[in-house]
Symmetry: C2
DNA sequence: CTGAAAGCGCTTACAG
DNA sequence: CTGAAAGCGCTTACAG
């Protein structure tokens, strides 16, 4: 920076002003500095800048999933890409962190609170990690993806309307003449687990236990859950599955059992992830607007960093009809 | 830090020494400082530290793919997770950057060279972006994933032995009695494109043009390429496909054409990605050791940052026999 | 083993 | 509009 100032024949203060928008700088000074920057190939040292501004212009993307299951979930990539792009538009860098184990969570907590980032985007399905309390306690701006069970009031978050999506799907299955509709749920310590089940019950009222099996979002579990459902309720003619990945597994189990989809059993998924069209028959499912969710998370986090109070954003879900129901 | 020093009754210099390993510090002083740190909840300011050490303890993961196609590729996630974990073991943070468009590449280049990171892991299939030259010119330590066409000599990289993998697959197909073996290649401006085709030719010698179709690694293109191959060479009894994703597409095309796999046409994939077992029949394929590739990339980058000269690491590939061939 | 002091490369009131 | 100067929060020879 001294070099640039010397070459341009001005003070470092003026160089700095040019760097920060060029306000209060005369045209000739501005030109001289810009020429000097190009000539010297100068790039600001972000650490020095951050040290004085107390702002790093980067945020953490915290993947806090014990089994790191999200990595296999196509939804996750859409979210990661969406956040990276939305942030890039604001010239903010995404720092990727994985908080799978206890040890990793400690590391992440230390990292996020040590001024390395201005805030954090929390992506996890299961709750109950101490991470949230740690970060909140330090006053770090945080936005969660999905309703953070138990922290709805003190944490900003963006979520799809899971419950309404589930209602739409079950109503659709009914409208197609299905009468015995089973469900494979997500884990019941996740918002997608409880809310989608609640939506199912909203429409169907009290349902016999044998019609509901708890899953965990991944493919294999969907397959096992479907087998169980088939043995508990051989008479079912439709199943609402809380994720496309599990629905893909359910399809496999049905094929093996000799049941045709959708003729014998209709399958409704959730997410409208890439899996929905990768399987055959293609899944009728509920679309979550993940790209918009990413954009809203970023918007909310930037607002929080700017000092705004936390807020909640709920985005609508939408029925997508394909071949499985 | 002043607070900690005050509480512990020592100077800031001593606090700093404790923070940096506790060498040359007396036991009582060390204890007092650690107590004070706990009591005050102090966390170092990384920017201040980096400003003086000139080291950020973070590296960039540069995803430089025009179509951002990698995001859909399961290989990519394995790589990202592998790198994040290997880096975490060294207490180094991964900063995720996407350099898809020209504009993004400029941003990334500025970011990487401005001292924000100590080095970069370059993940891209296509070459010829100016990014490499930019970073090299600035003296930024860089390790590429896969042979960087045209930069083999001046860039450190880690790659799987693509050519030998291709040879293994073609030899296997021959050993199963297949006589007319077609190939769907990757893009010919990528190492996986040229090297896998070279391996195919190593075994088969000169091959009629009608047996080889160029693809682009993604599913849809694999489907289209298979259709083309089927019309150009209706007599083929095996196809070596340069990626599992394309092989999945090829399977769809074959099913539609009424050809049974592997009875009528055997399919050999490449990657052993999650796609290989997600499709039916499961793919016989060539395994790339992506987790080891990530670990080696990280090791190489840290060596580079420490001042070692660039190096090349080639990891073996391995035939995995399943149902498609 | 320890403290005082310089310095890392910036930004930003402040005075002019 | 511009320069001189203080200060962001650390680390690290240096002297003791």
């Amino acid at each position: 920076m001294d070099d640039v100032a010397a070459v341009a024949g001005v003070s470092r203060g003026t160089v700095s002003r040019v760097l920060n928008g060029g306000h209060n700088v005369s045209k000739p000074a501005l030109d001289a500095v810009q020429r000097a920057i190009r000539k010297t190939g100068y790039v600001v040292n972000q650490h020095a800048r951050s040290l004085v501004t107390q702002r790093s212009h980067s945020v953490a993307f915290v993947l806090s999933e014990p089994q790191e299951r999200l990595f296999e979930d196509p939804n996750f990539h859409v979210l990661l890409r969406g956040c990276t792009q939305s942030l890039a538009e604001h010239d903010i860098t995404l720092v990727m962190t994985i908080a799978g184990t206890q040890e990793e969570r400690r590391r992440v907590s230390r990292f996020v609170t040590s001024g390395h980032v201005d805030g954090a985007l929390l992506v996890s399905t299961h709750m109950g990690s101490r991470l949230i309390d740690d970060l909140r306690g330090r006053g770090v701006p945080v936005v969660a993806c999905g309703r953070p069970l138990g922290h709805e009031r003190d944490l900003a978050y963006v979520a799809a309307d899971d419950r309404d999506g589930a209602r739409q799907m079950v109503q659709y299955l009914l409208s197609k003449g299905r009468r015995t509709i089973g469900m494979i749920t997500g884990p019941l310590d996740t918002p997608g687990g409880v809310d989608r089940l609640a939506g199912y019950r909203d429409v169907l009222g009290p349902v016999p236990d044998r019609l509901v099996v708890t899953g965990d979002y991944v493919r294999d579990r969907g397959e096992a859950a479907m087998e169980r459902l088939l043995s508990q309720a051989p008479d079912l003619d439709a199943v609402f599955v809380a994720s496309d990945l599990m629905a893909a597994g359910a399809l496999t189990a049905l094929r093996r059992a000799g049941r045709r989809v959708p003729d014998d059993v209709a399958i409704g998924g959730f997410d409208d992830s890439s899996m929905a069209t990768a399987v055959s028959p293609a899944l009728t499912t509920i679309r979550q607007p993940l790209t918009r969710i990413s954009a809203e998370m970023v918007r909310l986090l930037l607002a929080l960093i700017a000092g705004d109070p936390p807020a909640t954003v709920i985005l609508p879900t939408e029925l997508v009809v394909r071949d499985s129901a």
